[in-house]
Structure formats: C-alpha cells, structure tokens
C-alpha cells in the first residue's frame, strides 16, 4: 500500500490525542468535599474489569478513528501488483505478451493494452523500490535484464509486433531464468489472456508447473489480465490465395469485434505491386467472408501487394499481405484401372471449361514411375499403395500434396500410414446409404463462401467401404459410419471417400458431391505451389535461412523485423508474411483454465480493465478508510451509550399503617 499524499500521514500522530486528553483530564481533577464516600469506595472496587475494558475500547476507537481519518486523507492506494504486505522483492520477471491482440486499444481508445501495461509496470516497479527487472517478451522468448523500468516503453523488446505468444514456452523460460536467480522473486504475466496464446490444453503446462515448484525459492506469480472494454475494431484475415493464369484469388474474412449493429461500410485499399485502389466493402453482420480477384495479365509475372482497412481499435489487424509467382497449370492424377469410376474422377478433376486444369490416369502399377512434382492432387481408386508406390505417396504428402483414397472394387486388407479400408458393405434391397451428417464449416463439404450448402443429402449409396484408423471424420452416413475422413501427414493431407462414382456403388458421379469435394481438395493441393509465397509471423518459412538477407518489398510500412507482417524478400524468395491466424480468435482463457494451467503455483489474478484514464495498477483505498472511521465512531458512540437503568425509582416516603 502506498499513499498519494504521504505528508498527511503526519496526522497519524493525532491518534494519540484522545489518550493525551484522557491523561490530562486525570491530572486536571477538581477537588470536591463529599459525603457519600462509602458508595464511592464500593463503586470504585466494583467498577474494575468490564468498565475499564469498555473505557479502553472507547479510547481505542477514538484513536483508531483518528488514525483511519489520517490514512484516508493521505489517499492510500493498494497496488494490484504489489498487493497487501508486499515485502522487498529482489527480482521481477515480466513476461510480456507482445502479440497482435495486445495492440487493441482500451475502451477509451487512448492507449494500446501493451502500452498501458508497460506504464503500470513502470509505476509498480517504482513503488517496489526498483528491484531487478527481467523482461521475457513473447516475440523473442528470451530473458533480458532491463536497466531501468523507465526505458520499458522505448526499447525494441517491448514494441508492437504481428506475432502470437506462446505462454507455456514463456513460462518455461521464466522458470529457467529463476533457477539461477537468488532472493525473492515474482513473475508478472502481462497479457490479454487470449486463449490461442495461453494454450490451456497444452501438455507443456505440466512441465512448467513442475519447473516452478522445483525452484529453490518459489516465486509469486501475478497474472495481470487486461481483459477490459476495448475500442471498436474490424480485423481482416487472409484465408488463402489461389494463383490462376488470369489472376490471383484472395479469400478474405472481415470480423467485427463489437456487437454487430447494422451494416458497416468500410473503404478497402488494395495495393498490387505499388498501385493502390480503394473500394468499398459492406460488412452486414459480425463477420464476412469474401473473395477478391487480382487481375494479373502476365502469367509469368511475380508480384505482391496488400489490402488495408482504415485505422480502428487495433491498427495491426487491418492489413493483409500477399505475394504470388508465375501461374502454373493445376494437374491431377487419377490412379485407377480404366472404368467408369476412373472416367468420373478424371472429369471431376478437370471438368470441361476449366482449361487450366488437367488430369491424367495411370494404373497403380505404373504410378511409381510417374513424376509427381507438378501434381496437385492424386485420386487413388485402387488397392492401398504398397512397396514403391507407398514411398512416392509419402514423399508427395510431405511436400504438401493431397491424396484422395477411394475404395477399389476388389477387397483389400492392406494398410497405409495407419489407415485401411474396411469390408465393402451393400445396402439392403430397395434401400440406400444416405449421408446423415457432414461438417458444414470445415472440409471439402463445407458450405460455400456465400453460405450456400453442398447438396450432399442427394448422395445415394448402394455399396460402401469405411476407412478404419485414426482420422478426423468430416461426413457420416445415416448410421454413423464414416463417409469422408481426413488425416494430415506433414504438409499434405490424406482423404478417404467411402464410395466410388460407379453406378454399382453410388450416384457419386452425379457431381453433387464429387465435384465440389474434388475441386476443393485440388485447390488445397495447388496451394503447395502458391504457399511458398505465403507465411505467418514466427513460421519457419518467414525466417531467413543462412545467407539470406531480409528486406521489405511492399510500401505499407518500413518495419522489417522478423515479428512484423509484410511482404519480404528473403534472399531470392518473395514471402508475404501475415500475422498468425490464431491472433484473430479473441477467445479469452477462463479462470478455470488459468487455475488448471497454473495449478499449485498460488498465482494471483489481477483483472485490470485496461483503461488509459486509470493508468495505475492501484486501487484507491480512501473510501475503505472512511468507512473505518465511520465504524470506529459508531462503535465509540455505542460504547458511550448509558446503560438502561433497571432499578425502579426510589420511594420518596413510606408510612406505617398503624395509627
């Protein structure tokens, strides 16, 4: 506890006034001749004990009342970080969340949460007498000693970034630093408690807790949560890019942070290779997914650009960056024996009118010798690969390729990467297998970007096979068996489709299901060629390799650090680096999840509504002291109340009845 006007604490001496008055009164007695001395003596003998205690309590109440008044006048504040009874601290380890979400301005729109917390920490450090301050920032994850808290807002280690934060790793770094530190220490976690940064389900928390409890001197942990009201904000996210010979398709998403009220119209600036245009985009609700086509005349051209919104609550989530290379044809490979199924698959992979898409069929036996470096997707409607085929597909997957397995007509018990087909089953006579449930927000059966659903309920199956193994099921038949499953292998993905476009199996060839599934998976496969131009802050692809030099390619900003989003030239590579997608998920870690993450550490959560008008981490306590004054005065008054006399009034006279 500290005081805003400590000089007034001298008035604490006034607490002795009641005692002094009492003592002076005792000395300043008047002498009086008295007759009823025997009652005085008796009363004096009997008045000890309770009466004296009562008198002492009255004096104590008076003294404490004055003391509380003096405290209130001195404007006491309890620092949220310091707390009550904070003694001397030798080391403070400040774990600072520098993620993009920390740039969100507070409700009054004056300062970003990160700036606010730095100011509060600086003040709190001054109250503590400036112990050693060690900063572990979420961007670098490294501990560095700060010479003075005053420089905190000015150093690069506390500057804004477009990165995410990894709190299990940061806590581990803090514990590691403290393992060699001596004296009393505290860990201050300054964060907006964004769930994607804290990773509540992460297994590393157990190790963090173990590391902290193993420290020679257990540190106090104080979580400074900046979860208060924030200024209105609209964020923009780049979901993906697709290069086609005519141009570049950008999948974009706008999200409003506050409660949606009506349609919001925003100017969207699109910059392509330095040329900017501005157009208006309407945000009718909470979020909007839309596509933006960038026309590129020269198919061999490489380029970059950015899209930007006007400044709002968080200026660092208003822009996205893209880069692209020369257009290339999108090729698919159908591995199947000739037949109806192979024909339909070829048609779905390269439908008429999609001139830039090409598909080719090879038999399983010839597959191993077929070059796959230009292939985006493999449709495998044959027995599970084995031998040389197995290795080729694994290599294809690790480079980001997409492989769709379909059941083959013949029974197969072979497995591949932990997956295998179950027995082929046939629907009862006169009945069909019908899709009962599918994921409408994720996977190739998801609803369209405009919200229109895929008519998957039209699929009728006569025969089916169910993929067995550890894979995520994205669509199920009515009886719950899997129809579409996904298993991610390295950068690539394995897909399992439980029927084939053959009239003896199903009407999959009707294109209601097969075409969107094939085209969407193909699009993912094509990304492996475009993805080399896209990355996220902190990702390996966004780091410079030995010998590479980082330079900013776009004109959006001058910043060129590794924690900044933008278009960069890394040696010969051109990479558009955006903030991590998880940063746009503003879900907050709950108190229960914090309890679980920091279980046994005795942490203290200080929920400080981020507000620039309240820059301190302190709570004004004068009201509490005024209440104490009131309490003491009332207590004193109650103690001073005269006791109710239980005695009946004295009889003035009695006369005997004799006479």
């Amino acid at each position: 506890m500290t005081f805003l006007t400590p000089l007034l604490l001298w008035f604490l001496a006034a607490a002795s006034v009641p005692v002094i008055i009492h003592l002076l009164n005792k000395r300043r007695h008047k002498t009086v001749q008295w007759a009823a001395m025997q009652f005085l003596l008796k009363a004096t003998r009997e008045s000890r004990g309770k009466k004296k205690l009562r008198h002492i309590l009255i004096l104590t109440c008076r003294a404490l009342g004055i003391a509380a008044l003096a405290f209130a006048a001195a404007r006491p504040v309890v620092s949220g970080l310091l707390g009550w009874g904070a003694g001397s601290i030798d080391t403070v380890v400040l774990v600072l969340d520098r993620s993009t979400s920390m740039e969100l301005r507070s409700g009054d729109g004056q300062a970003a949460k990160r700036d606010l917390v730095l100011q509060k920490v600086r003040d709190a450090m001054a109250h503590l007498g400036n112990p050693r301050l060690v900063l572990i920032d979420s961007a670098s994850g490294k501990a560095q000693e700060i010479p003075s808290p005053d420089v905190l807002p000015d150093i690069s280690s506390t500057a804004a970034t477009d990165s995410a934060a990894d709190f299990p790793a940061l806590m581990n770094a803090a514990a590691e630093y403290l393992s060699s530190a001596t004296g009393r220490s505290e860990i201050w976690l300054a964060s907006d408690l964004q769930q994607s940064n804290w990773l509540p389900g992460d297994e590393r928390w157990a190790a963090v807790r173990a590391s902290i409890s193993a420290l020679p001197q257990k540190p106090s942990i104080r979580v400074l949560s900046l979860t208060g009201d924030s200024a209105p904000n609209v964020s923009m996210k780049l979901l993906g890019t697709r290069r086609s010979p005519g141009g570049l398709t950008l999948d974009l998403e706008l999200v409003r942070s506050e409660e949606a009220r009506g349609t919001l119209s925003l100017p969207l600036t699109v910059n392509t290779n330095g040329a900017s245009t501005t157009e208006s985009v309407s945000l009718p609700g909470q979020s909007l997914r839309f596509q933006r086509q960038i026309k590129i005349k020269d198919e061999a051209e490489s380029g970059h650009g950015w899209l930007g919104l006007p400044a709002d609550g968080n200026p660092r989530d208003n822009s996205v960056y893209f880069a692209y290379g020369p257009a290339r044809p999108i090729k698919s490979l159908v591995v199947a024996d000739p037949g109806e199924a192979a024909d339909y698959l070829l048609l779905a992979a390269a439908p008429p009118g999609f001139e830039k898409q090409a598909a080719e069929r090879v038999s399983p036996a010839a597959f191993a010798t077929f070059p796959t470096s230009e292939i985006s997707m493999i449709l495998w409607a044959a027995p599970m690969p084995a031998g040389g085929n197995e290795k080729v597909i694994e290599s294809f997957l690790s480079s980001g390729g997409q492989v769709v397995f379909l059941p083959s007509s013949g029974e197969s018990t072979d497995g591949f990467l932990g997956m295998k087909w179950g027995a082929v089953t046939t629907a009862d006579s006169g009945k069909f297998f019908i899709l009962g449930d599918w994921n409408k927000s994720d996977g190739p059966l998801r609803d369209g970007i405009d919200g229109s659903p895929i008519p998957a309920e039209r699929l009728r199956g006569i025969k089916r096979a169910v993929a067995e193994g550890d894979a995520a099921v994205l669509a199920r038949w009515e009886d719950g068996e899997a129809f579409l499953s996904r298993k991610i292998i390295d950068r690539g993905t394995l897909w399992f489709l439980g029927s084939i476009p053959d009239y003896t199996w199903s009407n999959l060839g009707d294109a209601d299901v097969l075409l969107p599934v094939t085209q969407r998976i193909l699009s993912l496969g094509a990304d492996r060629f475009d993805s080399s131009y896209l990355s996220e802050v902190g990702a390996e692809a966004a780091q410079t390799a030995p010998g590479e030099v980082r330079s900013r390619a776009d004109d959006f900003s001058e910043e060129s650090s590794a924690e900044t989003a933008g278009v960069f030239r890394l040696g010969d590579r051109l990479v558009a680096v955006n903030r991590p997608a998880a940063e746009d998920d503003l879900a907050i870690a709950t108190k229960d999840s914090l309890d679980a993450m920091l279980d046994g550490t005795g942490y203290r959560l200080l929920d400080q509504a981020g507000s620039a008008s309240d820059p301190s981490l302190s709570t004004d306590m004068w009201r509490a002291f005024l209440l104490a004054v009131l309490f003491f005065l009332i207590s004193e008054a109650i103690l001073c109340l005269p006791k109710k006399s239980k005695d009946e009034p004295l009889p003035k006279r009695t006369f005997p009845t004799t006479g």
């Binding site: 009652f39 004096t44 005997p656 006479g659």
Partner: protein, 297 residues
C-alpha cells in the same frame, strides 16, 4: 429571627395538628391518646367488673339489661413529647452548589415541627449527635423553651463521623415514657445497626419518624471530569473518573436507600426521603396530613 424559621410557613401550617400514631404517655392532659384508661369523655370499651374496681364507674344501665356488672372505660388524653434527633456528623455539611446543606435542611424541619408542637401544647426536645450524643435539650411545652431549642440547633456545626446509632440507643434507654422521636439524618452508617437502634426505639413503644436527607448531587452523581473526592467525615481522599463508576455508585446508593427505607418499615417508622431542593411546605404538609387519624380526614 432565625434564618431557618419561616413564620409565614408556620402560620399556614398552624391549622394542621401533629398527631401521634401511638398512644402517648404525657405528664399533663392533652389532645393525644394515652395508654391509660381514665374518665375522659371519650368512651373506650366495657370490661367485666373485678373486685377492687371503682364502683362509681359501674354501668348501671348495662347491669339492668344483662344483670351483670360492667365497668365503663374511657380513654385518657395526654400531651405528646417529641424528641428531635439531628445527625450532626461531617457528612451533613454537604451541599451541592446553590443548595442548602443537609444540616440546614434538618434545622428547618426540626424548628418548624417543634414550633407547631409547642404551639399545640406538646413538648419538644432536641438531641444533637456527632460521633456521640453531643447535646441535648430536654422536652418542654413552654413557649419560652422554643428559643433555647432554636438557638441550640443554630449553633450546631457538623463534624466528624456519625454517632447516630449510639445516640439512638442512648435515647431509647433514656426516654422512659412513650414519645415521638423524629430522626433527621443522611443515615450514612451501617443499616443493620441502624435497624437495631430503630427496633430498640420501637421496643420502647416510641412513635418514630425518619427524615432521610440527601443532596441531589449525591443521588444524581453528575460529574463531567475526574474529581478528587474528600470525605467530609474523616478527610480521606479518592481520585476517580466519575463516568467510570457512576453506574456502580448509583446501584450502591439505591441499595442503601432501599435498605434504610426497609429498616424504617420494619420498625413501623415513618420514612421520608428528602432531597435538599424540596420545598419545605409541601413536605411538611404531606408529613402532617399523613399522620392524621383516618377518621379525621
């Protein structure tokens, strides 16, 4: 003229007689009943004749009706002798600012009643006691005696500890005939011993009246700061914070006053608690009225 005599008051109270609650044994005929049967005008009772009785007092009419001899007895009337016992211990000197002392108030009561008694033909005597029976004025019914009575109480200077109990025992032994004993004191003494003394007087068939004199400050005990209390009787001093002991003081004082009242009641004595701020006239008027025989009022 003595300051404690209010002639206007006495003239207003002159119409009220001082009655005795018990038959008196005076030495001359008077207006008070006597325990002796005589030939006064007031019929008392019939009793059977026994040899030796004065045959002149036989009721022949009763003999004619019943054929038995009855002696007709009449009450004898006599005068009343009053003894005023004034406690002149040091405590009687107490008075709160602006009020008269207890001894002064006792003077007024004693002088007024003595005047009324002598005025109606009864005798008034005086006993002053300090630590012992200090001074006595024998009862007399002569008007000239009153001046001696007044001058004696005027000279009384309270001092020392109280010898009221011993004085009452001495008085009980000394007064051979029934008398009216008026005690004026604050009774700051042992109430059990006081009870014994009152019983002693009652045993001697005296008509007893107690005027319990108290100062309002003694009862209220209102002090706003610490005081050094010096005993008026033995000079011992005590510094106390009155607020701290006020409750206990009040309890002790009330218990004491209740004790005195009960002891007076046990001895069939009149008890009057009098604070020194009480106007004298209503006090005496009530006292005298209460003593009137019931048939007369």
């Amino acid at each position: 003229m003595h300051t404690f005599i209010d002639s206007d008051l006495l003239s207003r109270l002159g119409s009220l007689p001082i009655e005795s609650r018990v038959p008196m044994m005076g030495n001359v005929a008077g207006k008070h009943r006597s325990p002796h049967r005589g030939s006064s005008v007031e019929f008392a009772e019939y009793r059977k004749y026994v040899p030796g009785d004065d045959t002149r007092r036989l009721d022949w009419k009763a003999f004619a009706r019943s054929d038995r001899f009855y002696i007709k007895e009449f009450e004898a009337d006599t005068n009343l002798r009053a003894y005023f016992v004034i406690d002149a211990s040091g405590s009687m000197n107490f008075h709160s600012p602006g009020q008269v002392s207890k001894i002064e108030y006792a003077r007024r009561i004693a002088a007024s009643l003595a005047y009324l008694l002598v005025n109606q033909g009864d005798a008034a005597g005086l006993s002053i006691c300090t630590d012992k029976l200090h001074l006595e004025v024998p009862p007399s019914r002569r008007a000239a005696h009153l001046e001696r009575f007044f001058s004696t109480i005027e000279k009384v200077e309270p001092s020392g500890e109280t010898g009221l109990i011993e004085a009452l025992h001495v008085i009980a032994e000394k007064i051979s005939q029934r008398a009216f004993v008026v005690i004026l004191s604050d009774f700051f003494t042992d109430t059990d011993k006081l009870s014994e003394a009152l019983q002693h007087l009652r045993y001697r068939k005296h008509d007893i009246s107690l005027f319990h004199l108290m100062d309002t400050q003694e009862i209220g005990f209102q002090f706003d700061r610490p005081h050094r209390f010096v005993d008026l009787e033995d000079g011992t001093a005590l510094v106390v914070e009155p607020n701290l002991i006020a409750d206990e003081y009040q309890v002790a004082l009330k218990e004491f006053m209740k004790n005195v009242r009960d002891k007076a009641h046990d001895a069939s004595a009149d008890y009057q608690l009098v604070t020194t701020d009480t106007p004298l006239e209503p006090l005496l008027r009530e006292f005298l009225t209460a003593r009137l025989p019931k048939a007369k009022h």
